[in-house]
């Protein structure tokens, strides 16, 4: 049984840097936002340490997000086929594959996930900087109450969007579609997996 390489070593490193930093940011962010979850900061060395690390891990997150954007933006361009896929998303979710147009390397859902995460990530970074350094940075600021409150709202709204999407992403990437996690761990998928989830991509690979 032949195996196909789906993600390169570099792609996998970038993905997991992004993923793990996202998880850290989400956990500590929820701790800062919800008093009943404040105990999570203990896992990060206490409240003050968590507050110190959160923005720096945010920098790591931003750099990985930027790298991911340049690696994948080309593959993530939406095509006419994607429109039909999105129309059939209900059939896709309920496993009635007959009505779903075959996907290429990425299906329309994955593409939209990528673009949504990129936009949310940029807004998240931009709104996070005034919260990180309210006294100002690089000649911008200081940031006063009204600005900071708006940034808190934006920072939380993007968390809400990103956190919701992350749940679906992790679910589909692990237990829902066996074999998918392996693609991001060791980089390879089976022929059958490729045929089932990304038939057009599988055909392209077969042609090589």
């Amino acid at each position: 049984m032949s195996r196909l390489e789906r993600f390169t070593y570099f792609e996998r490193v970038v993905h997991w840097t992004l993923g793990l930093s996202f998880l850290y940011l989400l956990m500590t962010g929820l701790a800062f936002s919800h008093p009943r979850l404040f105990w999570i900061t203990v896992l990060s060395g206490g409240g003050q340490t968590a507050r110190f690390l959160h923005p720096w891990i945010g920098m790591l997150f931003s750099v990985s997000l930027g790298s991911m954007f340049f690696i994948w933006a080309k593959d993530m361009r939406l095509e006419s086929n994607d429109r039909q896929w999105l129309m059939a998303v209900r059939a896709y979710a309920t496993r009635q594959k007959d009505g779903v147009p075959p996907a290429g390397k990425y299906n329309a859902g994955q593409k939209l996930f990528f673009w949504a995460m990129t936009v949310l990530g940029v807004v998240h970074l931009a709104s996070g900087i005034p919260l990180w350094m309210p006294a100002g940075v690089l000649g911008i600021g200081p940031f006063y109450g009204g600005t900071v409150n708006t940034m808190r709202l934006l920072h939380y709204a993007t968390t809400l969007g990103g956190g919701g999407l992350l749940i679906v992403h992790v679910y589909l990437g692990t237990v829902a579609y066996p074999g998918t996690l392996g693609a991001m761990l060791h980089g390879r998928v089976s022929r059958g997996w490729a045929r089932l989830h990304h038939p057009r991509w599988e055909k392209e690979q077969a042609g090589d």
């Binding site: 809400l160 749940i167 237990v175």
Partner: protein, 305 residues
């Protein structure tokens, strides 16, 4: 001054606490500090008393062309007499502000704080920072409508006037009140201080300060440090905000968004779990290529046409 009752440190509000305040004591009197700016002679004895009682580091300063001792509040300077020179009706006027925590009834700092217990408000009206619980996020600074709390780059925590809570607790007045040689600063229950302020305002009006007023802004529920302001029409020149608030709108929006966020993420977890229980894993069939699903083969062709 008359003997004051001791003031228990019964807690009224705690930052970032979802639970009700722990106090079951019946509310004692609220205290307030009243600054009569018209009686201030600018001696800055209060600044010294503040440093001395609170054992705060002395910060070297220099003459920068003002009667003021330092340019700004800091983590080590919790009280600063600000002197502003302006012209009113052709006369030089020296506007003085005793810049320190106002101890708001609706404390914007406390509402903005994400660290449980880092900011507390006692029944007596004092808003106190607990550096032990402070995580150094500085959101209290943004939450304060008077720009009072200051971040220490040394300890990465935020500090401000605590109204000498350790004196008030045992029936003493704050250090600045005790030291003031002209009684420009008085201390007592909030009701007494408001009554006294009204007398002072009336006297100032008799003396020709027709805009004299009591500064006890209602946007923050009133404050426990109040001013008698001779030029009540020049609040901005005193550096006193006209209508300070604890930004209730923004905080309510944030609280609503947080509820929504937890709801969405909770439903997301529930939804994926239920989806898995209904549909299970979608396992790829490695053996059959053609008979199982003819679509993958015909799909691309159909699309190209």
């Amino acid at each position: 001054m008359p003997q004051l009752p001791g003031s228990s440190l019964a807690v009224k509000r705690i930052s970032a606490s979802p639970d009700p305040a722990p106090s079951i004591r019946t509310a004692g009197p609220e205290f307030a500090k009243l600054i009569d700016i018209s009686r201030c002679i600018g001696c800055k004895g209060c600044e010294v008393a503040c440093k001395e009682w609170n054992e705060l580091k002395v910060e070297p300063t220099r003459n920068f062309g003002s009667f003021q001792s330092h340019q700004d509040l800091s983590a080590d300077t919790w009280l600063l007499m600000r002197f502003t020179e302006i012209e009113v009706d052709g006369d030089l006027q020296w506007l003085i502000k005793k810049d320190a925590c106002m101890h708001c009834e609706e404390p914007g700092c406390l509402y903005a704080c994400p660290a449980p217990g880092a900011i507390v408000q006692y029944e007596n009206g004092i808003v106190d920072f607990n550096p032990d619980k402070c995580i150094g996020c500085q959101l209290c600074i943004s939450g304060c409508p008077f720009d009072v709390p200051r971040f220490s780059a040394e300890t990465h925590k935020v500090y401000k006037c605590n109204m000498c809570v350790d004196r008030v607790e045992v029936g003493l007045e704050p250090a600045c009140v005790k030291t003031c040689p002209t009684n420009a600063i008085t201390w007592g229950t909030k009701d007494d201080m408001v009554a006294l302020a009204e007398q002072k305002v009336d006297r100032l009006k008799d003396r020709g300060f027709e805009h004299a007023t009591l500064y006890d802004p209602s946007g923050v529920g009133g404050t426990h440090m109040m001013y008698v302001v001779p030029h009540g029409d020049r609040l901005v020149d005193y550096d006193l905000p006209e209508d300070p608030t604890a930004a209730p709108g923004a905080l309510a929006a944030l609280a609503g968004l947080k509820q929504l966020g937890m709801g969405v993420m909770g439903l997301g977890l529930l939804g994926t779990a239920l989806h898995y229980l209904k549909y299970g894993p979608e396992v790829a069939d490695e053996e059959a290529s053609d008979p199982a699903s003819p679509e993958p083969g015909s799909g691309p062709d159909a699309e190209n046409t």
